[in-house]
Amino acid sequence: MTPDVQAGAGPVESGAIHDIGYRHYDGERRGRAAVRRAMFVESARGAYGLGRAGRTKVMPALLLAAMCLPALVGAAIAALTGADELPIAYGGYVLNLQVLVSVYLAAQAPVSVSRDLRFGVMSLYFSRPMERIDYVLAKYAALATAVLVLMALPLTILLAGALLAKMPLGEQLPDYLRAMGAAVLLALVLAGIGLVIAAVTPRRGLGVAAIIAVLLVLSGVQGAAQVIATEQGTRDAAGWTGLLSPYTLVDGVAHRFLGQDSVLGAGPPGTAGALVFAAVTALLVAGCLGLLVLRYRRVSIS
């Protein structure tokens, strides 16, 4: 009831709006860059369950621990025995544990984008200053960062172990940096693949299965193709099979452009091979970004 109306004045004929202290916001409004940054931080933290419910931390924590375990063991051994060389090399570390990275990606990419689509909150996001490209870039960067952390942490643990074992920094650093460079590339490629698949499979569980299926099948096909090519005796062909799986693709690029030892035997053959591998990597990242922008362009606000 309106307390301001004069009592006993007969039928009320007009309405009135009352000042109950509502204040218009006149302060600073940060631009799109701040929006992007906020989305990025929130998504990157969410990939490890930070800022969300406790049970969302379990899977990432388990996977991170599993990824770091061999590094911890290796670092401990090096530190305790005072060896000259690390028992585990930086170079092949991630590739040998690619299953863990794949599972992490399969689990967290849907957490990042599928849930927004499934619960229909995209219209809320896009009726704010956030543009579709902002959303895509922020999510991409966040997932890439999260995957990178998964790979960078064990590598850094190895380095720490080496330093504790009094191995000279100058010897360790080049290999470490090469491995980190490869990790950055791999994170970019994997994040792209994961997000594209997750963005088209909003149903719970399907995105996870689809991402892992794609990664496993690609790995399997690459492995089989490599075996076949090696049996055929054509080393070049075996090198070309590296294009089939993102892990071998990045490994090939790292081998030719960063000088890292290739774990998978044959690297990309010749200059042509190196260029093709690099081009495919770049195209893959750009292509995934493009597909994501296309996909989100179809999300309507209403």
């Binding site: 899977m59 388990l62 599993a66 544990l97 299953v99 863990l100 794949s102 599972v103 399969a106 689990a107 619960f119 088209v200 499979t201 149903r203 719970r204 569980g205 399907l206 996870v208 299965a209 689809a210 892992i212 299926a213 496993l216 099948v217 399997g220 096909v221 492995g223 089989a224 193709a225 075996v227 076949i228 049996e231 055929q232």
Partner: protein, 244 residues
């Protein structure tokens, strides 16, 4: 009282073969067959290569993925969006529901997993060494085991797919390689017992052997029966939650 209900089967098949899931389900055997075709074209009929491909790709990748997709997909989406209430509010035994859904999932894995394995095996190795039949039977056995296990997981937790992945990939392949003891608890190794029997003498040489003995078969049957029974029990006390 029939252990299977035709309507439940029809409903399960309908939701299991929904568009995107069906696409994924069909892609897996397609890749296997293409790979087998290419290998055959390039290398001819090579027993060792065949065994490698069938063991690592067909049995090691395609079958567990199919089992995961079919096993969780047979009941997971219905529990997730709440449409399982239409099954639960009927005078229908929960065990009949679980068994029917399991049969549908197993049928999918047999048609899209074991059969293409047979075809790939015949393509790659012909009828020599019984490789094709051996791995096809192994795929069928492993597929049944995976379906039963993942169906149970889907009843027990809403994150069945991720947990199932952790088992199939991390436990069976990664840990299994590092800790030989872990292989004693691997559906894949149990299924390989059948493959080893069928391939016969050359099994070990070709890499079609199993890390466990005949006990593996007993364990496989026990897991299938036990998982199905327990899933029926859990379904009886399933909590229907509101949205999300």
């Amino acid at each position: 009282m029939s252990p299977v209900d035709a309507t439940v089967a029809r409903l399960t098949a309908g939701s299991l073969l929904g568009r995107r899931r069906a696409l994924l389900l069909l892609a897996l055997p397609a890749v296997l067959l293409v790979l087998a075709g290419v290998a055959r074209a390039l290398s001819g009929q090579d027993a060792e290569l065949s065994a490698f491909l069938l063991s690592s790709f067909a049995l090691g990748t395609v079958v567990p993925l199919l089992g995961l997709l079919a096993g969780t997909g047979a009941i997971g989406p219905e529990i997730d969006d709440g449409s399982i209430v239409y099954l639960l509010s009927k005078p229908l035994s929960r065990s009949v529901m679980v068994v029917t859904k399991l049969l549908v999932a197993v049928a999918v894995v047999l048609v899209l997993g074991a059969l293409p394995t047979l075809v790939a095996g015949l393509l790659l190795a012909g009828t020599s060494d019984g490789l094709a039949v051996g791995f096809a039977v192994g795929a069928a056995a492993a597929g049944t085991g995976y379906c039963a296990l993942f169906l149970l997981l889907a009843v027990v937790t809403r994150n069945a797919v991720v947990v199932g992945l952790m088992y199939a990939l991390i436990w069976e392949s990664l840990v299994g390689q590092l800790v030989p003891g872990a292989q004693a608890l691997s559906i894949r190794q149990w299924a390989l017992v059948l493959t080893e029997r069928i391939v016969g003498g050359r099994a070990e040489a070709l890499g079609a052997d199993s890390a466990v003995g005949s006990i593996g078969l007993v364990l496989l049957v026990a897991v299938v029966v036990g998982a199905t029974w327990y899933a029926g029990r859990r379904l009886r006390t399933l909590r229907l939650t509101s949205d999300a």
